[in-house]
């Protein structure tokens, strides 16, 4: 989650357990940051020496990748996965060293803060105002056999920080005034827990199999059956923004993605529509939603095709104006969608401003 929660400590505990179970375990790289508890738990484990790199007259200490490969243990503990190596080594990033170690048939236990994940870096920077430069590609995490979240409440972490268990006394005030604010830590914790929830969900999907008994097949399809994906039907007009906001709020609550779809009738757009479409694009981009524009005369069929493609489970739409003339004989769009998309919820979003007040009631 963040510095000081006990990631290295947990990694060393796991390493000790593996050693006790009879495996050949070494520490490839350990950053204790002077924490006594961490140093103590590392006792008894073989720690490989670092190699010294001369960079422009400064002596830097880095992990000894060739040394690890020569030693060839069963399991290697490598701290701080997102670290950037000193120039002149085999790789720019430590995670690339780890890939070499894995390729040599050595298991690896490593540590990582949530803000170091590439895809979460922007989100964490927005929430906390602090951007880290050292990141790793998300795909790397996808290859891990197991992920353990070291979770601590922000209050407990701050307590550890004030007690000098995270940084030396002289750095405590600076840390409290910069990154270690309760709002930053809460945001990081939320991001970390969400990430793990997503990771667990993806692993369950990956485990889905189409072989076996009928019961097994049904059970394996269960996670897919409950995953939601929202599609809001919009048009470039002022009423669309309200619908988009409501759909976004629903997507936030469900922790899912939001697609916006405009089935555009063939022909050119008026200047007013162009303006509204630009505004809609802005709103979608700010909210992190995906705006899809499809040109077609057949609205219901196009919506159904997009919904199938996007694996939509939930369609949100505004209330249509009452039809006039021959249009009154046509099946209304919600009913058409219910026929074309069995199993997909269709929700018609009301205008809250039109609710009667207590006095009117």
């Amino acid at each position: 989650m963040a510095a000081g929660v006990g990631k290295t400590y947990r990694m060393l505990l796991e390493g000790q357990a593996e050693k006790e179970a009879g495996r050949d375990v070494v520490v490839g790289l350990l950053e204790t940051h002077g924490r006594v508890e961490t140093q103590r738990i590392a006792e008894g484990l073989e720690i490989l020496p670092r190699r010294e790199i001369d960079y422009r007259g400064t002596l830097l200490e880095e992990m000894d990748l060739p040394g690890i490969l020569r030693r060839a243990p069963d399991l290697c503990l490598i701290d701080e996965l997102a670290h950037t190596n000193a120039p002149g080594l085999e790789h720019v990033k430590r995670y690339e060293d780890v890939e070499d170690v894995l390729a040599a048939g050595i298991d690896v236990l490593s540590t990582l803060n949530v803000q170091h994940l590439e895809s979460l870096n922007d989100q964490v920077a927005e929430l906390s105002g602090i951007r880290v430069r050292e990141t790793i590609p998300d795909a790397l995490l996808g290859h891990a056999d197991d992920i353990v979240v070291v979770d601590l409440t922000p209050e407990e972490l701050l307590e550890r920080l004030r007690a000098g268990k995270v940084y030396p006394v002289e750095r405590i005030d600076a840390a409290l005034n910069n990154f270690f604010k309760i709002e930053n830590l809460s945001a990081l914790r939320e991001v970390a827990l969400r990430q793990v929830a997503e990771e667990v969900g993806q692993r369950r999907f990956a485990a889905t199999t189409n072989v076996g008994s009928r019961e097994e097949t049904i059970a394996s399809e269960a996670p897919r059956a409950v995953a939601e994906r929202l599609l809001a039907l919009v048009e470039p007009n002022p009423g669309a923004y309200r619908l988009v906001r409501r759909a976004w709020r629903s997507a936030q609550r469900l922790g899912t993605d939001l697609d916006l779809l405009w089935v555009r009738p063939p022909g050119t757009l008026s200047a007013e529509q162009e303006n509204s479409l630009t505004a809609l694009r802005q709103l979608a981009s700010l909210l992190g939603a995906r705006l899809i524009v499809e040109e077609s005369d057949e609205r219901a069929r196009t919506i159904a095709a997009v919904a199938k493609r996007q694996r939509t489970t939930y369609i949100l739409m505004g209330r249509a104006r009452p039809p006039r003339g021959p249009a009154r004989l046509r099946t209304p769009l919600p009913q058409q969608l219910m026929v074309l998309l069995p199993g997909v919820d269709v929700r018609i979003v009301a205008d809250r401003a039109q609710r009667p007040t207590e006095e009117q009631e």
Binding site: D122, A125, R131, P238, Y241, R249, A279, Q282, R352
Partner: protein
């Protein structure tokens, strides 16, 4: 405030002219009620459309096109609150969002994209809230619209917030 039914047709609609657009930018969790009421009065008188615009500031370390879910969690409920109140007053609303490196940058981008007949902002004593004095000066000098800046007043504490719509939109 009682909800009123929308007028059947506003003056510009009757005459066929395009309705005026009144921009009501905001940056925080609340908008001055004086600014909102001024916009409502003008819109009633002229049959104008109110354009409440949420200005979002993108930190310099993020790409300008980044989604801003945390900022939206503040801005979207307030947009909803403004829209509901204005609609209840029978005023058409066409809301907007705009991003920029600063609030002025976000406003400038919006004004470059679209035409507005009037801009209504409320000056504030607090330098941390919304548009600064320099921004207001820029607005008066550079923007091709009628700019209405409301002076700070004791009743500026009366604000429209998103509280009423929490969990309801």
């Amino acid at each position: 405030m009682n909800a009123q039914s929308a007028p059947e047709q506003s003056a510009p609609e009757r005459s066929g002219a395009k309705p005026n657009r009144i921009l009501l930018p905001f940056t925080n969790q609340a908008i001055s009620r004086r600014a909102f009421e001024a916009a409502i009065r003008l819109a009633h008188a002229e049959g104008s459309t109110i354009v409440p615009a949420f200005l979002a500031r993108v930190p310099r370390n993020l790409p300008i096109e980044s989604p801003l879910p945390a900022a939206c969690a503040i801005g979207m409920p307030l947009l909803e609150a403004i829209e509901q109140r204005a609609t209840a007053e029978g005023i058409p609303v066409d809301s907007r969002v705009s991003r920029g490196r600063t609030y002025r940058d976000a406003l400038e981008r919006l004004l470059e994209q679209e035409h507005f007949d009037r801009v209504i902002v409320s000056a504030t004593d607090s330098p941390r809230q919304g548009l600064s004095q320099e921004d207001l000066g820029w607005l008066l000098g550079q923007v091709a619209a009628e700019v209405l800046i409301l002076r700070p007043a004791p009743d500026d504490t009366r604000r429209i917030t998103a509280t009423g719509v929490h969990g309801h939109f």
